[in-house]
Symmetry: C2
Subunit: 403 residues, 2 copies
């Protein structure tokens, strides 16, 4: 393991120390923990001779001025979910930081300007919306979202101001951005299972998510004959069963999950008044996502009889296809460096999903032990970090230093 | 409306004043509210010249000694569910109390000894087990249950002692009990819909209830392909859907409800690790209950594939058939008094269900407005209370005064 990878492994541990929130691992946005990591990363950036600045919403950037003002950017998010882990997000920031620093030292001034990014609020770690930082970069963050409230009723705008941000207009697209690349843990078990060190991401799945409200009539479970009932439960069950059966027919291209259900009033001896359940459908194939929209509509129409079924869409994002030229370069680098890899789809959303809708974007995955993420058990071995580092460093060299 | 019914209507309001628990209607067992109602009912009993005593667990009795020590008992429960109403339980106690008092005044010493009962903890209003008071009467309460804990971790035995009970052995069957009769609100909408004032109960349904645990494997909703999943949700949905479809085929004789579900961890973007859902199956037909046990076993066997399904039975009670002679008397009384009635099955459990397993027992229903119970909206009109009072008074006259 080279000394740069050694530095990353140690920096992961140093960064982790800032995420202790009342005894649990949680770095929510615009908190003490967030201020601490921001200070630490800024110090690392300054140590590497980078110019350090934050944008209006608090994304942190380390900048190496190049001959051109066109930017090659790399990084990831610095927030974590509650009970999260040390690698998700942070590994991509620290790897980018070290790669850019090492290249600057070895090769001097780059052709393109290089920026290392540490985005805030990707995980919806505190406020309801995700990808807040990267959407500010692309110009897709709306003023209305600044009124969002956290669990304690604090306004997003207020939280930003208290952290010293929101002193300039938000959501101004970064015109000079030419290319973005993000290294991230896989958050799944495919690389480990197939004994590959690197995943070169081809697409980030599109998502069609929502909440389905089935409204019936609350009644006593003992005294209401079957024929008098308007019971939402069997309808909800049939909806979920049939939706899943349909998804199973497309099992190589799509995933479908019902992970949450709320039953009111939720007593064993009361026919529920209403039921809410979520659906989360993902595919890299836009045609399958369209079909899923149609399937939800069809089930809604067929199952509405004595109960009413309402569908509330909470997310409808097209798949993002990552940059073909960048993917070719990444394959070449892997082959030159003799690093085992496979091309793969990302089933999880990332900042790259936002940025990739407007700018040439690529993603690299490194293995997650046992496929675990969003858990203190997250782990990626130093050997795999080393492979990721070599991939990212060579990619930045090729794209920004043009060597 | 005669003056006795007027008294009952006023007493209902007086009793209701004792059930205010921090602003909500809730008379849980062995609480201040319970002590207040017990004192009030004891006073009413003494005012009517009854001998008043409590048994080991706190059931309250008002006794009118007769020529025989054999007992005709009438009453109901004095506890209420949280957010409950004024009529459930209390109407049966007050109607019995007034009917016995009026008969004593009109006819003097009865042939049989008459007792008016105000049972405690029928509703599982504070502790996990139901029908605690009536099961003490029949000898079916176990010592082990005294270790049950309430939501604050208080032991049942401790709560009883603090209320001044548990000074003598529990669960001694009442040998002298000859006959029990309970008047209760219907808790359903059949009488109202059919414009009948009285329901003469033929059977109390048997219940087969439990919790079904479906255990799969928690995973990320985006990164776990369909073929790699062990998702308990579609299996739970299929189980509920098929169980309900089967129950619908028997819709005149059986009801089946899934009213509660717990999903772990319950996030929209996480494949659940495990799911628990309840089932509540009731029928007056023992053969159908047997079939339901078989159906649950069959679904468990057929659906266990990648997930494990465990069935935990929480209640398995045979239907109770109420006393045929008593039903005949009640029909005769209704016809003599020109009160509209129908015979009907009780879909809810009652103290009569416990007592009826060992002693000759009958039940009378009066209408519940809009079928509502377990709610502050409970209401039974004075006219319907009057009809119930006339039924119960004549029944007690016939059985205890033998006139």
């Amino acid at each position: 393991m080279n000394k740069e990878t050694q530095w990353i492994v140690e920096a992961i541990e140093a960064a982790a120390k800032t995420a202790d929130r009342d005894g649990e691992y949680w770095r929510a946005s615009y908190t003490e923990q967030d201020a601490e990591i921001t200070a630490l990363l800024a110090q690392y950036m300054r140590d590497a001779g980078m110019e350090v600045y934050s944008d209006a919403v608090g994304n942190l950037f380390g900048r190496i001025e190049g001959k051109s003002r066109r930017i090659v950017m790399s990084g990831s998010h610095r927030d974590t979910v509650r009970h999260g882990g040390k690698y998700d997000g942070m590994l991509g920031i620290l790897t980018a930081l070290k790669a850019a620093a090492a290249l600057k030292e070895e090769l001097g001034e780059p052709e393109k300007t290089v920026e290392v990014a540490a985005f805030c609020e990707e995980e919806s770690s505190r406020f309801p919306t995700s990808y807040l930082g990267s959407r500010n970069l692309t110009g897709d963050l709306t003023e209305a979202e600044l009124d969002d409230l956290d669990a304690d009723g604090v306004r997003l705008a207020e939280a930003m101001k208290q952290s010293g941000y929101l002193k300039s207009p938000i959501s101004i697209p970064r015109q000079e951005l030419e290319r973005f690349v993000e290294l991230h843990i896989e958050q799944g078990g495919v690389l480990e299972k197939e004994k590959k060190q690197i995943g070169i991401v081809t697409d980030i799945v599109g998502m069609f998510c929502g909440e389905i409200y089935v409204r019936g009539q609350q009644n006593h479970a003992g005294t209401t004959p079957m024929w008098m009932r308007k019971d939402p439960m069997p309808l909800a069950a049939e909806f979920i069963f049939r939706l899943n059966s349909w998804a199973m027919e497309h099992k190589t291209d799509m995933v479908c999950t019902v992970g949450r259900m709320v039953i009111e009033p939720g007593n064993a001896n009361v026919i529920p008044a209403h039921i809410m359940f979520t659906f989360d459908i993902r595919s890299s194939d836009e045609a399958l996502l369209s079909e899923s929209r149609e399937k939800i509509r069809q089930l809604q129409a067929e199952l509405t009889a004595d109960v009413s079924i309402e569908v509330k869409i909470t997310c409808d994002e097209a798949p993002v296809h990552l940059d073909l030229q960048g993917r070719k370069w990444l394959r070449e680098i892997a082959e030159e460096e003799e690093i085992s890899y496979r091309e793969m789809v990302s089933g999880a959303g990332h900042d790259s999903q936002m940025i990739g809708q407007k700018y040439s974007t690529n993603m690299l995955f490194v293995p997650s032990k046992d496929g675990i993420s969003h858990s203190p058990k997250e782990y990626t071995s130093p050997e795999d970090i080393d492979a990721g580092y070599m991939m990212l460093k060579n990619y930045l060299r090729k794209t920004a230093w043009k060597r």
